[in-house]
């Protein structure tokens, strides 16, 4: 009995060796990810923070990013949540194909997203003539930034809300339909609350993706300070003229991403608790 206990506690030599190797792998990977992220916080000293926050290029980029990502998220919400509900609750021909097309921007390389938007909205593009007639030119404007961000980021919200609505107990929705003839009331008072956690985490993901959008925006909207130069683009540009400004923007984006991850995790835990 004692013999067995000894062996389980100590383990054989090769077991110990494997454990050490595993420990090294984990440590290497952890440092590989953590060192660059933590390291950038060391690049800027506290007294430089306020100066950078008064730098107009930095400020403009922050304001523009908040405005465009906020607008893109709002538009995505209005488009993707009802669509997600529709796709989750209805069956129709071609649903699988439509579903796949709607998911595509998630996987598209940003440069591809940029070029397809350009060919769709440029004055001589597919939809360009329509906007020309209205006197609107989209590429190179703040609207183009919002379109690019929405195009790339909204599928996250569509996917999340669709999954959320699919998980609803259909009988709960049917119970509501038996009691209330208003589709809108059933949607807002029962369906949306039931899928709320999925919709919220989808919204946050969409916003984060919109904040980080770089390639499609650069191709479709360009790099005009105050108009289309969002935080990621400004980081790239400032790297050569004002590196500390770029570092400041990077730090802000890291903090935002970190906060988002925490919020999404908390929501996931909450919805797990409710399911139990």
């Amino acid at each position: 009995m004692q013999k067995i206990l000894k062996r389980t506690r100590g383990g054989s030599l090769s077991d110990k060796f494997i454990l050490v190797i595993l420990g090294l792998i984990v440590l290497t990977y952890f440092l590989f990810v953590a060192i660059p992220i933590v390291g950038i916080f060391l690049k800027i000293e506290p007294n430089q923070v306020s100066a950078q926050l008064r730098n107009s290029a930095v400020i403009n980029a922050i304001e523009l990013s908040l405005f465009t990502s906020g607008s893109a998220t709002l538009i995505a919400f209005v488009l993707a949540v009802p669509t997600g509900y529709f796709m989750a609750t209805r069956d129709f021909h071609g649903k699988a194909i439509l579903d796949t097309i709607m998911d595509l921007p998630i996987l598209l390389p940003p440069a591809v997203a940029g070029i397809v938007l350009l060919y769709a909205f440029a004055p001589r593009g597919l939809l360009g003539p329509i906007f020309n007639r209205l006197g609107i030119i989209i590429p190179g404007t703040t609207i183009a930034v919002i379109i690019a961000e929405c195009f790339v980021a909204s599928p996250f919200l569509l996917r999340a809300s669709k999954t959320g609505f699919e998980r609803m107990d259909k009988d709960i929705i049917n119970s509501a339909k038996m009691l209330s003839g208003s589709r809108l009331r059933v949607f807002f008072t029962v369906a949306l609350p039931l899928a709320l956690n999925a919709v919220i985490s989808g919204t946050i993901e969409t916003w984060a993706r919109a904040m980080g959008e770089f390639g499609a925006t650069l191709m479709f909207a360009g790099n005009l300070p105050g108009i289309t130069q969002t935080m990621p683009i400004a980081i790239y540009v400032l790297l050569y003229s004002n590196p500390l400004g770029g570092v400041m923007l990077a730090i802000i984006l890291i903090i935002i991403s970190f906060s988002i991850l925490i919020v999404v995790r908390l929501l996931e835990q909450k919805s797990l608790r409710i399911q139990k």
Partner: protein, 367 residues
Amino acid sequence: MIQANSIAKSFSGKKIIENLSLEVKDEEILSLLGPNGCGKTTLLNIISGLMRQDRGHIYINGVLVSGVVGTRNVNVKPSDRKIGYVFQTISLFPHMHIEDNVAYGLKALHLSTQEVKKRTENLLDFVGLRDYARFYPSQLSGGQKQRVALARSLATEPQVLLLDEPVSTVDPQLREPFRLELKNYLQALKMTVIYVTHNLSEAFIMSDRIAVMGNGAIEQVGSKTEIFDKPSSSYVAKFLGINAIKGKAIKNLGEVMEIEANRIQLLASAVPDLIGRNVIVTIKPDDIFLSKSSASGFSSETSNIIEGTITELVQMRSNTQVTVDTGFIVKARLPLNLVKSESWSIGDKVYVYFSADSLNVFAENSS
């Protein structure tokens, strides 16, 4: 009153309901009894309007709520059909307090806040859950949730009530008292009710009449005794656990007639029309007696005495089910102590007795 006329419904080519007609009388509790997957819930969904039938008409209190008449395609919204529906999965709104669950339908009626509050309280009083008004569904037991679901479905003052296996979500040991409680509620309501269940004894406890459903259609509708004493098809007989034997009516002997089943002669009350036809004979397990001796006081003029071999003994809570092979298989239900005192075991030879008038006979092709 609920009328379903010639209803048909298929899902991706598979027929779920086929030419089904059913009428539920005013203030009647009708059990819709059938095995899982026979289309009971589909029928409720069609009646309630949550699903559209491919063919046929639904009337509630004489008003057409769904179906095509001439060029008119009638399809009244579920919420406008005056139907209360309690779903099998209870399906309370998990994010709302109990009182808000009950008030959900009332708020759609655009009543004053005070009226909504008053009616909600009355409904919670009715199901004895006033003290739980500010609880969430997850804080209630299965039976309590089911009572809330009932109160919620009654809020809009429906004319008919559909209940889909309401006892199935209650803990097994609490089902018996909950059934009786539910029966009291239903009797107090005096409403037209369709009560869906796959449980035979539940159908007997809850309802005035029973409709046995199978293969997408109503097999038989009748009072409890009608259904049990005179099953009209071998499907119904088998579902109710009644012996069903194929045979042929040979000749009329006056009060009784002779039937041949697997080369065994049986006597049944005479039905002259059936002579010469293939028939199904049904015998309730409770009408069968077994004995080791051939002398038992049964008259061979009006009773059947057949020799057989015990092939199975299954002890139930209050009786023993004995299966005997006599050339055809019959199941008898006998008191536990009788089986014990006779010390029967599998392989024993026994005599099977049943009187001619306990047999129910109908033509085979009518089933």
